[in-house]
């Protein structure tokens, strides 16, 4: 009986330690990570376990690699994407490597999703798919919200996204990313969704 109690105590300690480690990792990213702003367009789905959230479609979700470089990277391969900011202060990915960057701590550990192509208009008015780079899996696409506010938040944020006035503030540190807030029309999406129109 004593041995069983001993192992049970170890098990409960492990069951507490794993979520605690998750918390500690995210808190350190929020405390020490560099802040980046990504342009986004939110959509509102539901997770049966975690509740209602706003799904964030990040506009710049690719690293600018040539078609040849992209072909050499296998689907779902793990790598590191480095970041930069444009003149307006919005973040974008600058490169992709298989090796962990050593010169900066502001990089994202993620997986490759194949070539990213977008429709571009030609001079003659026709449209063609142009290669943009390597599409990458974005690990900050869920912003959990109150079940009543999430649908309202989606509508308000979509209006803001149309006016290019919606972004997600993300802290990034050593490959990990944690969402700080989603900003639409200049204020937090949570506050915006509280206002009943």
């Amino acid at each position: 009986m004593n041995l069983r109690v001993f192992f049970f105590t170890i098990l409960v300690a492990a069951q507490i330690a794993v979520p605690l480690h998750m918390i500690q990792q995210r808190e350190s990213v929020l405390r020490d990570g560099e802040l980046f702003r990504f342009k986004t367009e939110p959509i509102d789905p539901v997770d049966p376990f975690q509740g209602r959230y706003v799904w964030l479609r990040i506009e710049e979700d690719y690293a600018p690699l040539s078609a040849l470089e992209t072909e050499g990277i296998a689907y779902n391969a793990t790598g590191y994407a480095t970041l930069g900011t444009d003149a307006e202060g919005f973040a974008h990915f600058t490169a992709w490597t298989h090796e962990k960057p050593t010169e900066t701590s502001s990089f994202l550990r993620t997986t490759a999703l194949g070539p990213e192509k977008r429709w571009e208009e030609r001079e003659d008015g026709t449209r063609q798919a142009a290669h943009q780079g390597l599409s990458i899996r974005i690990p900050f696409t869920r912003f959990y919200m109150d079940e009543a506010k999430a649908p309202r938040a989606e509508i308000r944020a979509r209006e803001a996204a149309r006016n290019k006035d919606c972004w997600v503030a993300v802290r990034i540190l050593n490959g990990k990313a944690v969402i700080e807030d989603v900003i639409a029309e200049g204020q937090s999406l949570r506050d915006l969704a509280s206002i009943k129109k």
């Binding site: 069983r4 098990l11 794993v18 979520p19 995210r26 509740g51 869920r142 079940e147």
Partner: protein, 447 residues
């Protein structure tokens, strides 16, 4: 720890034990029992027989734990925005702490109802805690990682309590993990490692008490065919047919070898094995199954990984070797189910080779139509011979399934179909009547 001699104790309902103990002095006064016999019976029923908890108490306990656990998850899923991040993180641990206290109580007290309720509540609390931390920190969805962490943190609990509820949770989690991992990583080989604790638990339960281990065995036998389909890469098309044939036949043979007197619900290995073989044989009667299979049609992409070129054959060879080993030890010429389970994987192998190298799908379809027809007729004939209505009906069900399908498959007129249906129905009814009469005669005969 449970006393080892418990395994040899019979379990009876508490009210039956109480009634018998009250009856003994009356039987002694009436002169039916001697004082010595009465004392021996009393000692036996008080010391050697354990009383069984009522199933309704266990079921209500399990249902209560499920509802409370589910309710807590929904309450947290509401997302209490007014609480601070740290407040919500601390709150996420509350169900886990409550569940740990309940499990500790169950380990001390040891009642079946409490153990099962604690097992289920604790299983839910572990998953809820991880999910709620994910909600608080807006973590992205990583289903395989979430399911794997949940399963690993839950696994020791099934042995420590022990609880069938926690075990069933575990096997559902590893089955779901195999599907999610196959989808996200392209392979789910780790499933076989995760299966080991489940196998150990089932063997332990069956050895301790066969009846209470049955639920665990049923869970395993229902989960394994689903997981096998997910884990196979299918890089080499059609190899799954041999893998399934070997697995199902192996299960059936193990059931017949280790539990020869158990049938139906009491023998999940035999039931799933025999019914699975019949279902697979029926699937093989369709010509489409045999198109484009074999090494000539090998496909390599993200959903069919290159590693499947050696994983699938190795897995299939492992299952086939285990089947051959058990078949060699179990084969009995006078037992129809054994013969079927020993012959089926051989027929499937022959079919696979024929289709892979000979491109003759129609020959295979014909071969398996004949196999299913022979299977149905053999069950029917043996059922009639031994006056076993269950076997007769099984044979007739197999025959009707085959005949009806082939009937709709071909272009027959309404008149022909109608007459054939009436003929089949009359034949089945007449056979049932004859067998029922024969059985009654056998039961009423003095010998």
């Amino acid at each position: 720890m449970r006393n080892k001699s418990d395994s040899f104790m019979r379990k009876i309902p508490a009210k039956h034990q109480k009634w018998l103990i009250q009856e003994l002095p009356i039987l002694e006064d009436e002169g039916i029992l001697t004082a010595e016999s009465r004392n021996r019976l009393e000692r036996y029923y008080l010391n050697k027989v354990t009383t069984r908890g009522h199933w309704a108490t266990i079921a209500l306990g399990v249902l209560g734990a499920l509802l409370i656990g589910g309710g807590i998850i929904l309450l947290f899923a509401h997302n209490w925005e007014n609480l601070s991040r740290s407040g919500r993180a601390i709150l996420s641990f509350c169900p886990l702490m409550l569940a740990a206290a309940l499990s500790a109580l169950a380990i001390r007290r040891g009642g079946t109802s409490l153990r099962e309720s604690a097992g289920i509540f604790h299983s839910l609390a572990v998953g809820a805690c991880i999910a709620l931390i994910g909600q608080t920190y807006h973590l992205p969805s990583n289903t395989p990682a979430f399911l794997l962490t949940w399963a690993l943190l839950l696994m020791p609990l099934i042995f420590l309590l022990p609880s069938n509820g926690a075990y069933l949770f575990y096997i559902v989690l590893i089955c779901c993990w195999s599907g999610a991992a196959q989808d996200q990583y392209g392979q789910a080989l780790g499933f076989w490692l995760l299966l080991i604790p489940a196998l150990i638990y089932v063997i332990q339960q069956i050895r301790t008490n066969y009846q209470s281990g049955l639920l665990a065995l049923w869970g395993l036998m229902l989960m394994l065919p689903i997981a096998l389909g997910m884990v196979l890469e299918r890089t080499i098309p059609g190899l799954w047919i041999i893998a399934y044939a070997s697995f199902l036949s192996l299960a059936g043979l193990l059931g017949m070898r280790h539990f020869p007197t158990a049938y139906g619900w009491s023998n999940p290995l035999r039931t799933i094995g025999l019914n699975g073989v019949t279902a697979l044989a029926y699937i093989c009667t369709w010509q489409e199954i045999w198109y484009d299979i074999g090494w000539g049609y090998t496909r390599v992409n993200f959903t069919h990984q290159e590693s499947g070129l050696w994983i699938d054959p190795a897995l299939t060879a492992g299952l086939a070797t285990a089947w051959a080993f058990v078949a060699a030890k179990t084969l009995r010429r006078d037992c129809l189910p054994t013969l079927v389970l020993c012959a089926f994987p051989l027929c499937v192998c022959a079919g696979f080779l024929l289709a892979a190298y000979g491109e003759s799908a129609w020959i295979n379809a014909l071969l398996f139509n004949a196999f299913v027809l022979a299977l149905g007729l053999a069950h029917l004939a043996q059922g009639c011979k031994t006056a076993q209505l269950r076997q007769v009906n099984y044979g007739m069900a197999v025959l009707s399934l085959l005949l009806i399908t082939r009937f709709f498959d071909s272009e027959f007129g309404f008149l022909t179909r109608g007459l054939a249906f009436i003929f089949m129905g009359s034949f089945f009814l007449a056979t049932n009547l004859i067998i029922a009469r024969k059985k009654r005669q056998l039961e009423s005969s003095p010998s």
